[in-house]
Symmetry: C2
Subunit: 221 residues, 2 copies
């Protein structure tokens, strides 16, 4: 069986877990705290980052490489879209959330609200949190804009763009970084995602010493 090295609040791990659940790829989970730089983990992935998947001598690192791999070898439930142009649009949006949303929102929230509080036992920087909140709002505007034109983020079918966006948003939401007010299209879309049995296990997990806000795992939020 595949083994997935993940961290509960790593958005890239969540993206892979949600996608594998949708595709029906069974795997066992190993919780990894990447900042501890465990040598056996660094040997698997010299980049030192979650997620990593392993089965026997096969090691897959980097969330994009992992998901492209399972798109190639598991043909059921294709997540990229039917036509080459659909797939390019899906991949553009996955990169949008993995790079822009991560750098502008989640990297800040994870540093201030997760690492500083739960690991260093220090206080977060309020100015950095405000900046993350402002950028999260710009991203929610863009999600609203897309959903006013499409049924799902990448087009007319649920797919990897939705999975990537939900993974990143769920981490920001856990860390109290999302204000859903005034973003009805995004809210309706995220409520539909939250109701999926493939996504609910992610929302049930907690990271020690750090509670999400009360609305975090509620369908009506």
């Amino acid at each position: 069986m595949w083994r997935l090295y993940h961290f509960t609040l790593c958005p890239f791990s969540r993206k892979v877990r949600f996608a594998l659940a949708v595709k029906g790829v069974t795997h066992e989970l190993v919780m990894e705290r990447p900042w501890e730089k465990r040598s056996a983990f660094t040997a698997l992935n010299p980049a030192g980052q979650t997620p990593v998947m392993q089965q026997g001598h096969i090691v897959l690192a980097d969330s994009v490489a992992i998901l492209e791999h399972f798109e190639e070898v598991v043909e059921r439930t294709g997540l990229l879209g039917p036509k080459p142009e659909d797939r390019a649009e899906t991949r553009r949006l996955v990169a949008w959330f993995d790079q822009k949303f991560y750098a502008e929102v989640n990297a800040l929230l994870l540093a201030e609200r997760m690492y500083k509080r739960a690991v260093l036992r220090a206080s977060p920087d309020a100015a950095v949190l405000r900046q993350a909140g402002r950028m999260a709002d710009v991203h929610l505007d863009y999600i609203d804009y897309l959903l006013e034109r499409r049924a799902w983020l990448g087009g007319n079918q649920f797919g990897l763009a939705d999975i990537a966006a939900a993974a990143h948003l769920s981490v920001a939401d856990y860390l109290s970084g999302i204000d859903w007010d005034g973003h009805d299209p995004a809210k309706t879309w995220y409520s539909a995602i939250k109701s999926r049995p493939t996504f609910r296990p992610l929302l049930a997990e907690r990271f020690e010493g750090l509670q999400p806000p009360p609305h975090y795992d509620k369908l009506d939020f």
Copy 2:
């Protein structure tokens, strides 16, 4: 014909140009300075980043999405490798250079030596340049390590891992960020890349007001 919006010293643009040349995909070039935030360009790619490819109503943004697209639609000269595991390893290394090398080396060099000097007419921060140099050396060590075990970076065939690495290294080299001394495997590999007719046009370009070091486009460096 495809139109490629690129910036001369953008490593992601260089990766796409080198790959398209190897695959024989003809295209015309449009030089874009992303920091000018030209509205017609932002309309094509809301992320505001090069590279972007356009042909009629089809717009491809993000270098990974662009190259996965051409792997799908142009079957000749596959750049990812023959087997799924080869392709996963290639994609892991492309992510390595696009994310780690970029963040640790090129983002610093582009900010200090390109943007500050050529655009803002300001002096670079020597401490930041030293940090970029130290990290470039760590990356060259990793390239040496791989090349002591394989003919090419991703495995036994030339492919997208080599193309991504050469694109990023060539930008760092242009900006005087690479010290090749003591890295013979990397040097021999890069010399072979430099001799390719598909790569040489990139080395011939200059960005106004910013000259590369004398060894930059020499095969013997």
